[in-house]
């Protein structure tokens, strides 16, 4: 169960949501700093001359309270997910499948003719999907 989920286009976020809604700024800041780590990972993968690059980037970094995971799509849209550190039950492949669900929902949003690529995501279906992935607080 995620604490915060963000969808980021080239320079700006398309969607950020976090569960404990106080201290939202802290989550926004952490998402911002995680972008640097994402860029690092991508350039490292490029140099490693792997046959192909994976979309799932894995654990980006870890603080004492939270772990941050990343995923990048072929269209350079980044998904960042923050999970409570105390939640050790969540395994890597579960996070991977959560990202895949996010990717599918994002693709659906893109195909919506009423959505202009580059705008903030306001689709309720996307919202509901993200809600199902975030922890319930109160």
């Amino acid at each position: 169960m995620a604490v915060c989920i963000a969808v980021i286009a080239k320079n700006y976020p398309l969607y950020i949501r976090s569960t404990p809604t106080e201290n939202e700024l802290k989550f926004h800041y952490m998402v911002h700093t995680s972008l640097d780590v994402v860029d690092e990972k991508i350039s490292a993968m490029g140099k490693a001359l792997l046959d192909q690059r994976e979309l799932y980037l894995g654990l980006l970094y870890r603080t004492e309270d939270y772990k941050v995971y990343g995923y990048i799509t072929n269209s350079k849209v980044k998904f960042v997910m923050m999970v409570d550190s105390s939640n050790t039950a969540l395994r890597d492949n579960e996070i991977c499948s959560m990202f895949r669900k996010l990717h599918n929902s994002y693709t659906d949003v893109m195909c919506n003719p009423f959505y202009n690529p580059g705008d903030r995501i306001q689709s309720r279906a996307f919202d509901n999907m993200v809600t199902s992935m975030m922890i319930q607080v109160c």
Partner: protein, 159 residues
């Protein structure tokens, strides 16, 4: 997947509709309709560029993206691959299709050559949109020497 002719019929109607309401037969009016078609193709290309590469792994370089367009995108939309891809390795790519499905029902040879560009505008936008989603700004133009052979030229500035 739906029958291929459905898209062809829809496309033909789109072109016919845009030209039927065009009271200004001069070059200004024609260009407007061509850019409307190109714009439609652009939006569709953006969505396709997001949906189609979903399961493929990340592209490593520009040529990979163009190969994806020639194979996966063309197969998804027209049920065939592009016949040839040439490049000068400096940002210009020429994609040639020897039997373009949208031109096939029109003629085979030189008849209707002046009408052909109308039927290529949407596809140019499609290519440009897919490239845009995959992070490449480009200019796509099409040319026809003899139906149904057509060439799409993709120019990527600052390559």
């Amino acid at each position: 997947m739906a029958d291929t002719v459905l898209f062809e019929f829809l496309h033909t109607e789109m072109v016919a509709e845009l030209w039927a309401h065009d009271p200004d037969p001069g070059p200004g009016g024609q260009k407007m309709s061509l850019s409307v078609l190109e714009g439609m193709g652009f939006r569709v290309g953006r969505a396709l560029g997001e949906r189609l590469p979903r399961e493929t792994l990340a592209f490593r370089e520009e040529l990979d993206v163009l190969k994806f367009l020639c194979k996966d995108l063309w197969v998804a939309v027209f049920q065939k691959q592009m016949d040839s891809l040439r490049t000068n390795h400096q940002g210009t790519y020429v994609l040639q299709d020897n039997s373009f499905p949208l031109l096939l029902p029109i003629a085979s040879g030189l008849q209707y050559l002046e009408e052909a560009p109308k039927f290529l505008a949407f596809t140019c936008g499609l290519l440009r949109g897919a490239l845009c989603t995959l992070g490449i700004e480009s200019v796509v133009t099409a040319s026809v020497a003899a139906l149904p052979i057509c060439k799409f030229q993709v120019v990527i500035p600052n390559s």
